[in-house]
Amino acid sequence: MTTRETENLIGALSADVRPVKPLAGPVSRALRYLAFAGPCLLAIALYYGPSEMFLARVNQPVFMVPWLASVLTGVLATIAVFHLSVPGAPRWIYLLPIPPLAVWLGTLGAGCLGELVAHGFSHIGTSWHCVMVILQTSIPLGLVLGWMLRKAAPLAPVATGAWAALAVAAFASATLETFHSLDTATMILLWHGTAVAAVAAIGAVTGKTALRLPV
């Protein structure tokens, strides 16, 4: 095509211009989402719990550090995806949820290693309930987040979808822990970690289609 055709296109696009409402800033939109998700998750946590085991662990850093890190992972991943949903976001935004995610998985991993050295594999069991609750909580939260992100224009839909799913799964995992605490760090890492990874993978796959550009 030639520059003349580009000029014609510019003429056609200009003639088609209609007023549009500029999107609110990424942090403002992230706060709006958190203002929706926070009360929902709190209601779930209060409806089912908190469990005695969770209350007993409030003073135990080995459990509370990863729990707080999971909440922070959700918050920072939410802020990151709203930045990523607008063209021109700096690349470091991708890394925003990485530090709390590393603390979350790292502290659980260290606890898990200690348990394996002390008890071997005897304390490992199944907890499909955790996987189901994380999936069931993540889906409605993810749909609302996806709906808000579609109003913008994520140029990297796979990464945005994965990070969005990580955000909701981290929130779901933290909420679940308040009323259905697993006995050991190994079990938490195994079942919550697997569920969160699965939700993030689903987010990456669906993000490719659901968050693609309108044209």
Binding site: L9, I10, V20, V86, P87, A152
Partner: protein, 184 residues
């Protein structure tokens, strides 16, 4: 080129100011061209990618925050469109093979059924197109049958480029349904 005016021009375009929008797109096209060229897109494809970037800018102009610099916003869109172009190109190259010298001995000769097909398939497609809703019919006739560019079709029909793309997409989906219905 005074790109310090661009945020203001784009902000006015968001309010529906046609002159500001025309000036913004006209001035930023050169910047987009430079960004696309830097991504290694072949020279003969740069203008295609720039046009795709312009259409994207039009579709997502609401995502620009007037308080932020405009260049990173434009750069990200141009680079994205360059990546999309390269992916499409790779997909096409993967499915294309060089025609061998002895192709005539390998593949059927389409002309051999010319007498049988004449007036049949073309007539069928015309019949299907006639059944489409007016907007979709017009889009297919202009873009697919007359092979007009999007800009030309938009100028002639008075429809926006986005509307034409949507109408064509829907028309092709309807034609596909009609084809399936008649062949099964």
């Amino acid at each position: 080129m005074r790109d310090d005016d661009w945020p203001d021009l784009l902000a006015r375009a968001q309010q529906g100011d046609e002159a500001a929008y025309r000036r913004f797109l006209g001035e930023s096209a050169g910047f987009l061209r430079a960004i696309v060229a830097r991504t290694g897109i072949p020279a003969d494809a740069i203008e295609d990618v720039v046009q795709e970037a312009l259409i994207t800018i039009h579709a997502i102009r609401h995502t620009y925050d007037p308080t932020r610099p405009v260049r990173p916003w434009l750069t990200a869109i141009a680079r994205r469109r360059a990546v999309d172009w390269r992916r499409r190109r790779t997909g096409i190259a993967r499915n294309e093979v060089a025609m061998p010298d002895h192709a005539a001995e390998t593949f059927a000769d389409p002309d051999s059924n010319r007498d049988l097909d004449r007036g049949d398939s073309g007539e069928t497609v015309r019949r299907w197109v006639a059944k489409l809703p007016p907007g979709q019919r017009q889009a297919v006739e202009m873009l697919k049958l007359k092979e007009m560019s999007l800009a030309e079709a938009a100028a002639q029909s008075g429809q926006s480029i986005t509307a034409l793309k949507v109408a064509t997409h829907r028309a092709l989906a309807n034609l596909r349904k009609m084809w399936k219905k008649e062949t099964t």
